[in-house]
């Protein structure tokens, strides 16, 4: 059994071996991310002090008012608008001293939260605490739906950004004090008439309208109307799973998906519905998405025979969409005389395996006699019938996809074959680099490694081309003074920017290791040891 086959067997034996713990990994990653915020003790303490100070300030104002002492004249000019979205959408307007001028609930849920509370004259911190506290108590914010969007529109951008950053920390601290791991999105906006119109139309804040606009513009399968009723947590999850890059939106924490069944359960439901065993399945995709008014796990997978596309309701686990498609794949046993057309498409005429191989060889510029074929399979690629052909030649591994109808090369690659070993010592079609002859073949090389190349580098122009692996092997064998080797191994590698062939083999009871300059063919280093 050759080395490649042996290693392939080890690798194949590990295929599908790992238990499916992805859900646990993802969950722990989220948790760790939350912990980063929670460990921010300084911020937490500062916030608590601020909170107490806020209440004290509010009390002082009330007290002052009651005693009729204060000549307190409130500034009635709106300096900043702060918009909060969870599902309740609320707008708070404050003056330049961050005293609340008004709190406007924008939808029915927000009215429930605000209720009869009057925040006029209160500090922004106290108002924020009261509103977030109410959302927590009423279950709008929970471990299962932990995302909040805070949007600031200020008279000047710098003030707005400073306020945004401060509020983000403030909200996080409030959530932490309730032992919650939150996901806070924050942005600073300037007035935009288009966004304002959308916000009014759908009874949401301009901040949420802007967020939805970003998602829709990057993921056009969704519409604004479709996403407007979603909570911020759902929108946050959609952005994450849809790889939407939210521009100018700061983000801390991860949206919770704990109210959903989880990817592992969704996959199991899909496999069960398809009647396939998990071990026979290759998963292509499993992402959360919004389909027909519900969050779903979109799952794509395939088996040897079929491709499956399945949507699983993320809350109930019910199958809401299911598609199955035959892969139409047939393997043809690779024999030189085998040119039969695949049985699955009897009406179509294909060029046959031999012609496909010829097309590949001709493109590669190698002759059939110098080639060892390892694979010739009939397959479909993007709906096109192809022959998938792998072969080795002169130290290279070639992979070709030949159009089975036209004979055109659809795809090809050529890589150095590290394991290539050809008993013949005469490279036929490659220029051989200067080879240093062994000083005395009967006298094996000294056992100490040498750093001195035995030959000056051959000419190498600006265009670097490497000698073949078999040429490098010839150099090493010639240097060692041996004519037959076994357990041969060769790898192309780079050391200090120099391409080298690392060659090792056994011969005559000794183990040999060589580094051969891949451009010049010079021996850079060698070792010889008793086997």
């Amino acid at each position: 059994m050759d080395k490649r086959r042996l290693e392939n067997k080890i690798s194949s034996a590990c295929d599908g071996l790992a238990p499916d713990i992805l859900a646990s990994v993802l969950s722990d990653c989220k948790e760790k991310e939350g912990k980063v915020i929670m460990l921010n003790e300084k911020k937490k303490k500062a916030s608590f002090v601020k909170y107490v100070a806020g209440i004290a300030a509010a009390l002082a104002i009330l007290l002052g008012g009651a005693m009729g002492v204060g000549a307190y004249t409130a500034n009635k000019t709106v300096n900043s608008r702060i918009m909060l979205d969870v599902n309740p959408s609320i707008e708070i307007s404050v003056n330049k001293n961050e005293k609340v001028l008004g709190v406007t609930p924008l939808n029915a849920d927000a009215k429930k939260i605000v209720g009869t509370m009057d925040f006029s004259g209160s500090s922004l911190d106290v108002t924020l605490n009261a509103l977030i506290g109410s959302m927590l108590r009423n279950g709008y914010i929970s471990e299962a739906a932990n995302s909040i969007l805070v949007t600031v529109d200020s008279k000047d951008l710098a003030t707005g950004q400073e306020l945004q950053s401060r509020l983000m920390g403030e909200i996080n601290s409030i959530l932490e004090s309730s032992k919650m791991t939150g996901a806070v999105l924050a942005q600073t906006v300037t007035e935009d008439s288009g966004i304002k119109q959308l916000a009014e139309q759908y009874a949401i804040t301009e901040g949420k309208a802007k967020l939805i606009n970003q998602i829709v513009s990057q993921n056009p399968i969704h519409t604004f109307e479709e996403l407007a009723p979603l909570t911020i947590n759902e929108l946050n999850l959609l952005s994450e799973s849809g790889n939407v890059k939210l521009e100018n939106i700061a983000s801390v924490g991860r949206a919770s998906d704990s109210s959903y069944i989880g990817e592992a359960a969704a996959k199991s439901a899909a496999y069960k519905h398809a009647g396939v065993d998990e071990t026979s399945v290759k998963l292509v995709k499993c992402v959360l998405d919004w389909e027909d008014g519900a969050m779903v796990y979109e799952i794509e997978f395939f088996t040897d025979d079929c491709e499956y596309d399945c949507d699983i309701n993320a809350k109930t686990g019910a199958v809401v969409k299911y598609e199955k498609e035959q892969r139409r794949r047939q393997v043809i046993i690779s024999t030189p005389e085998n040119t039969q057309t695949p049985a699955s498409n009897p009406a179509t005429s294909y060029i046959g395996e031999a012609a496909a191989k010829s097309a590949a060889l001709s493109h590669a510029g190698v002759s059939e006699s110098s080639v060892k074929f390892v694979k010739c399979e009939f397959d479909y690629e993007n709906g096109v019938a192809v022959y998938d052909i792998d072969f080795y030649s002169d130290g290279y591994e070639y992979d070709y996809h030949i159009n089975a109808t036209t004979g055109e090369v659809v795809k090809h690659s050529k890589e150095t074959d590290d394991d290539y070993y050809r008993p013949s010592t005469a490279p036929a079609d490659k220029p051989v680099a200067p080879v240093s002859k062994p000083e005395t073949p009967a006298n094996p090389p000294a056992e100490q490694p040498t750093e001195t190349p035995t030959e000056k580098p051959a000419s190498s122009g600006s265009q670097t081309s490497y000698i073949s692996a078999s040429d490098a092997k010839s150099v090493a064998m010639s240097h060692a003074g041996v004519s037959s080797v076994y357990d041969y191994d060769c790898e192309l590698d780079y050391e200090n920017g120099v391409a080298i062939y690392e060659i090792s083999f056994d011969s005559g009871g000794y183990e040999y290791d060589y580094d051969i300059n891949a451009v010049t063919g010079a021996v850079i280093r060698y070792e010889k040891d008793r086997d």
């Binding site: 690798s11 194949s12 034996a13 590990c14 790992a18 993802l26 998963l283 357990d487 590698d493 690392e502």
Partner: protein, 192 residues
């Protein structure tokens, strides 16, 4: 078969893995981590199991390895050697676990054999090769051959990860191959 060296559409598997780690570093959601996990989990788990020989420990290392990748991706410098980076992490986690065992005299049961036998998707031939690898090779030989077979890492990279001289890696690799071939030929002879 785990195939971390193949080339598809001009992008090698190694480049894809490299890209995943870079994407994780950009903090662009868990999708990249998920892709990385799906592409590399069998290699990481196979390697951990071959060192620890206990399925629970190997599972813990698998889990912790991706958490470490998630937390450390920003420190990763892309030099086209993502597997070397990932397997250095996996190796360290395995060594920490072994040290823990030594400290608490807590060597868990070697339950890998039953686990391999329960994996129906693997052919008997392939499983026998892996079993021989786990039972007959020395720890060093086994680690080197597993790294070479599962990751496509070069001998030089394996030497760096395992902190051994290149010549030792090469020598142990060859000896491991020779041993395995001998054993398998012997079995073939007995069966034939």
């Amino acid at each position: 078969m785990i195939c971390l060296t193949s080339t598809i559409s001009g992008i090698s598997e190694m480049e894809r893995v490299d890209r995943c780690i870079s994407d994780i570093a950009k903090n662009s959601g868990t999708q990249a981590l998920e892709e990385l996990y799906n592409r590399t989990k069998d290699a990481v788990y196979g390697y951990a199991l071959s060192i620890l020989k206990n399925t629970h420990d190997a599972e813990d290392v698998l889990h912790d390895c991706y958490i470490c990748v998630w937390n450390s991706a920003r420190d990763y410098t892309s030099e086209g050697k993502p597997m070397a980076w990932m397997f250095s992490i996996a190796r360290n986690l395995c060594l920490m676990r072994i040290r823990g065992r030594n400290r608490f005299s807590d060597a868990p049961e070697e339950d890998w054999m039953q686990y391999l036998e329960a994996n129906d998707s693997v052919s008997v031939d392939d499983r026998i090769v892996l079993e021989r690898c786990l039972t007959e090779l020395s720890d060093d030989e086994r680690e080197i051959i597993m790294l070479h077979a599962l990751t496509g890492l070069k001998h030089r990279e394996i030497a760096e990860i395992t902190e051994r001289p290149l010549s030792t890696v090469l020598s142990k690799y060859r000896r491991a191959l020779k041993k395995l071939r001998g054993l398998l030929d012997e079995e073939d002879g007995n069966n034939g």
